[in-house]
């Protein structure tokens, strides 16, 4: 059975939701506390959403200094899959495991609701070009990167998800937060680290409106993004 670790910071609040979703798609899960300094061998490390350290200073900025993060970086180098969701994505940007940065939504308001995203990377067979319904809930999801950085993301096929409409059309009208190039999720060059603003763990149950998030989590069972 594949083994997932969920990193819990003070202020994480999607840890339980992630645990439930990961168990449902077939992972064994265990939580690790931000002050732990080691993570045992595992297949996936999830950094869940929430407000680590209250988002004070800047979302993810304080979590960066937690002892666990150097261990997460070490795992990522060795090839363990790392998934950062929402605040987890912001933390991965802060520690430099992913390129770019987050600022406040263009509306300057927190936004919660249904969202369509398109899988835009060529690497995964299971998700290729699929249009997925995965909700968002964030105040700072406006992904920023300079032109060179954007070109590098594009050249290396690192843009994994883009905000779109139900038909899969990506346009400024389907961009909920002002992100550059409608970017909803990016991965590292070695494709082991994925950060995304939408919440796949909230889309693992048809009763909640979508089961598409389960497909995303399941792709980690096969080590693919």
């Amino acid at each position: 059975m594949k083994n997932a670790k969920i990193v819990v910071f003070p202020g994480s609040n999607c840890d339980t939701d992630c645990e439930r979703a990961l168990l449902q798609v077939g992972f064994k899960t265990e939580r690790v506390w931000h002050r732990d300094s080691t993570i045992e061998k595992c297949d996936l490390i999830v950094i869940p959403g929430g407000f680590s350290f209250g988002d004070y200073l800047r979302a993810g900025a304080i979590a960066k200094a937690s002892p666990i993060m150097s261990e997460v970086a070490r795992h990522a180098e060795r090839g363990t899959s790392v998934l950062g969701i929402c605040n987890g994505f912001q933390i991965l940007l802060e520690v430099g495991l992913l390129p770019g940065a987050m600022t406040r939504n263009a509306s300057l308001q927190f936004i919660c609701g249904e969202q369509w995203i398109r899988h835009d990377s060529n690497s995964s067979l299971a998700l290729k070009k699929k249009v997925l319904k995965v909700p968002i809930a964030h105040g700072e999801g406006n992904f920023r990167i300079d032109d060179d950085g954007l070109r590098r993301l594009q050249d290396h096929d690192q843009i994994v998800f883009r905000y779109c409409n139900q038909e899969g059309v990506v346009s400024s009208a389907t961009n909920p937060n002002g992100s550059v190039d409608n970017i909803a999720g990016v991965c590292s060059k070695n494709r082991r680290v994925l950060g995304m603003m939408p919440h796949p763990e909230r889309a693992c149950d048809p009763k909640l409106g979508s089961n598409d998030g389960a497909d995303i989590l399941r792709s980690f069972l096969n080590n693919r993004v």
Binding site: G49, F51, G54, A137
Partner: protein, 726 residues
């Protein structure tokens, strides 16, 4: 020497001060006067409302804990309890909307998790002045932002609510917040200081000078320039509260806690006094041991501070080491600050000196109770009919749907995380009530909050019945049966006999409706003196009900073309325009007569719709209230891509038929094949009216005779209704 002037500046009356002198047999010192002033404030003592609140029904087959604790609790099956309460934070939110609303959310969440229940859902009920008023935009954005800030960070979904705009709130907005938590029925914690000799611990944030006299402020009316009271508004830190939540639940699991209470209004004073009072004990507290975040704070300031995110605990001495272990892990302050005594007194030490020594019962049971004089409100004669049908009824329908009290609330609720915890089965706007999944073996829960305050103003007794009826009807529309409710009674200045009359009438009306609709009240809050420059708010007895879901739930939206559209309940009476939105929008009048509600008919309607849902006869159900049939129908059609054709209506006045607000009506849609069976059930078994209005059509148009409205046009007006505000 304390004088009557000192007492008055603390909000105490001359007779109350005399009373204090008699009880003590001496003059209080300044610290003691401060303690009296907050404990005897309206906010803490309920001195004006107490004798009337006892009329509310508070028991029922599912009630575990009724009023008197930090929150009420009902049994939801499977060994689990739902713990909930609603509270107001009106005055602070008018002065500083963001922090006022945020700390309101923080306070109600602490009330719930202090009982050992993890918060799983929140609601809010908001009232603002008219849309055009110069302060409204600032207040709306501040309040909504504050609720979002606190609730989202806590990871508790805000799953529903209601918002209305009316000039009566121009100078005094209402911010009522509700939180529901869940715990095991046999692991509910109470605020009791039991066990003489047991240590008393303080946990959470340090104490600062913020919010001193907040409870007293909440017991006064507003005057021009009161924004200067900003220093009495507390500042919230939701991150710290999230840690406090996790730490408290972790410590509860160790068995170390004997009693626990949050420090809300009147802070350390009320938490100590109330905990001691419930156990019939005394408390001795050392001010020097209290963690502080400002220097040179006096005992007076520490006792009256309303700094947020703090808890008081009585701990089992054998497990006292757990406190430090857990709270150090969560990096929160903690300190042993006192001990439970058998003195029956609140004794406060500062630098080795006894600076406050007051009998607990002098602060609680001896607090004044007033039977204030009341007299009926004398309404002027007002316009009660609308002279003519709008010249362009189609255009009017579009504009009406975009009016502030009827338009979509999405601009508000999309700022709230309503999905975290992945249990929100019906999200805001999807059905008449929010639905929260609980756990296997326990009932899923439906939550709704309501208060048609214009109706309560026109007729407080009937209006309060409408309130309870509408709220429980919302539950019925998703197939839930009430387990219990919480109220938040927002009224004006009770020293005016007319306001007192509103309060008494509303409580009595609410009591009667709760009894007949089998919805006991398990806790609540009273907020008086909601007035500004001598203008009182509409009486607003907010009501939030919690229901247990039946097997099947349905949406409010129509499901497919060809389905029949039926209005069930009481037969529509086009004269029912009193306090209606239509009369208000057309004539800026509230009329003279509120339609009377027949509670037994209402009960039959709610039972009927639940049976229709269970029997799988109906596809959708939506309460027909503000704005009447037209609004209910548009709401059923929006987002579906479908339309309706109302062919069975032959009324001389289409406008009053579409917009009148006859109570006890539900708009349902059913498959054509179910028509006969449904009709028999509705008319014969339940003795209700069955009005077949027309059917759902595939083309997205609202068609009624010559009137044809593109749904998309109305939907755009509805969606953008608050765009100018938010």
């Amino acid at each position: 020497m304390i004088t009557i002037e000192d007492a008055k500046s603390h909000g105490l009356s001359e007779s109350e001060f005399q009373n204090i002198l008699e009880i003590l047999g001496r003059s209080p010192n300044l610290t003691e006067l401060g303690v009296f002033s907050v404990m005897w404030s309206e906010h803490c003592s309920y001195k004006t409302s107490r004798i009337h609140l006892s009329k509310l029904p508070t028991t029922g087959p599912h009630v575990l804990i009724g009023p008197g604790e930090n929150a009420g609790a009902v049994d939801i099956g499977g060994g689990k309890a739902a713990v909930f309460k609603m509270e107001s934070h009106n005055h602070p939110s008018f002065i500083e909307p963001f922090q006022g609303a945020a700390t309101g959310v923080g306070g109600i969440m602490r009330d719930v998790f202090t009982m050992g229940a993890r918060p799983i859902a929140s609601l809010n009920s908001l009232r603002f002045g008219e849309k055009e008023h110069k302060k409204t935009k600032h207040l709306v954005n501040g309040v909504v932002g504050g609720i979002a800030h606190y609730g989202n960070c806590m990871g508790v979904p805000t799953v529903g609510g209601e918002v209305y705009f009316d000039p009566s709130y121009n100078g005094n907005i209402l911010v009522n917040v509700f939180t529901l938590g869940m715990c095991k029925t046999d692991e509910i914690f109470k605020g009791v200081a039991e066990g003489v000799g047991n240590p008393v611990y303080y946990v959470g944030s340090g104490t600062g000078r913020d919010g001193i006299h907040g409870a007293t402020m909440a017991s006064e009316t507003f005057e021009e320039g009161d924004e200067e009271k900003r220093p009495t508004v507390q500042v919230g830190d939701p991150f710290r509260e999230k840690l406090l939540l996790e730490a408290c639940l972790e410590l509860m699991a160790t068995g170390a806690i004997i009693g626990i209470q949050d420090m809300g209004a009147a802070g350390l004073t009320s938490s100590s006094v109330e905990m001691a009072d419930r156990a019939g004990n005394g408390l001795k507290i050392d001010i020097d041991a209290v963690p502080k975040r400002e220097e040179r704070m006096t005992a007076y300031e520490v006792l009256l501070s309303e700094s947020q995110e703090r808890m008081l605990m009585v701990i089992d001495p054998e497990k006292a080491s757990e406190v430090g272990r857990v709270f150090d892990k969560w990096e929160l302050e903690w300190a042993r600050i006192g001990v439970v005594t058998d003195s029956g007194h609140l004794e406060v030490m500062e630098k080795g000196e006894l600076v406050c020594n007051l009998p607990i019962d002098a602060l609680t049971s001896a607090a004044p109770k007033y039977d204030r004089p009341s007299k009926p409100f004398n309404h002027p004669q007002r316009v009660e009919s609308v002279k003519n049908v709008p010249t362009d009824l189609a255009q009017f329908l579009v504009d009406f749907m975009g009016s502030p009290n009827l338009c979509s609330r999405k601009n508000i609720y999309s700022q709230f995380d309503f999905m975290v915890r992945t249990n929100t089965l019906k999200t805001p706007g999807a059905a008449d009530a929010a639905i929260i999944r609980t756990e296997v073996g326990s009932s899923d829960l439906a939550l709704a909050v309501d208060c048609p305050s214009r109706k309560v103003y026109l007729d407080p007794r009937e209006g309060a019945k409408h309130t309870v009826a509408e709220c429980t009807r919302n539950l019925a529309c998703v197939n839930a049966k009430p387990l219990g409710a919480t109220d938040c009674l927002n009224f004006g200045d009770p020293t005016k006999p007319e306001i007192m009359w509103q309060l008494i009438e509303a409580i009595e009306g609410m009591a009667e409706a709760c009894r007949i609709l089998e919805t006991p009240i398990v806790g609540g809050n009273v907020s008086l003196y909601n007035a500004s420059d001598d203008v009182d708010i509409y009486p607003t007895p907010g009501f939030a009900a919690v229901g247990a879901m039946g097997g099947r739930s349905i949406s409010m939206h129509v499901q497919q073309a060809g389905d029949e559209i039926i209005l069930i309940g009481r037969e529509t009476n086009t004269d029912d325009l009193g306090a209606s939105e239509y009369l208000w929008v057309r004539e800026k009048s509230i009329g003279n007569r509120l339609p009377k509600i027949d509670l037994s008919e209402e009960k039959r309607l709610q039972d009927c719709v639940r049976e229709l849902i269970d029997e799988e006869l109906i596809e959708s159900a939506h309460d027909c209230s503000e704005g009447g049939i037209a609004v209910a129908l548009f709401e059923k059609l929006f987002t579906t891509g479908l339309g309706c054709s109302l062919s069975n209506i032959s009324e001389p006045r289409l406008d009053t038929f579409l917009f009148c607000e006859t109570p006890s009506r539900i708009l349902i849609s059913i498959p054509h094949e179910a028509l006969v069976e449904t009709k028999i059930l509705v008319q014969e078994k339940y003795g209700l009216s069955f009005e077949h209005l027309g059917c759902v059509s595939p083309s997205p148009k609202f068609k009624l005779g010559d009137v044809c409205v593109e749904i998309a046009r109305a939907e755009k007006a509805w969606r953008d209704g608050l765009a100018a505000l938010i």
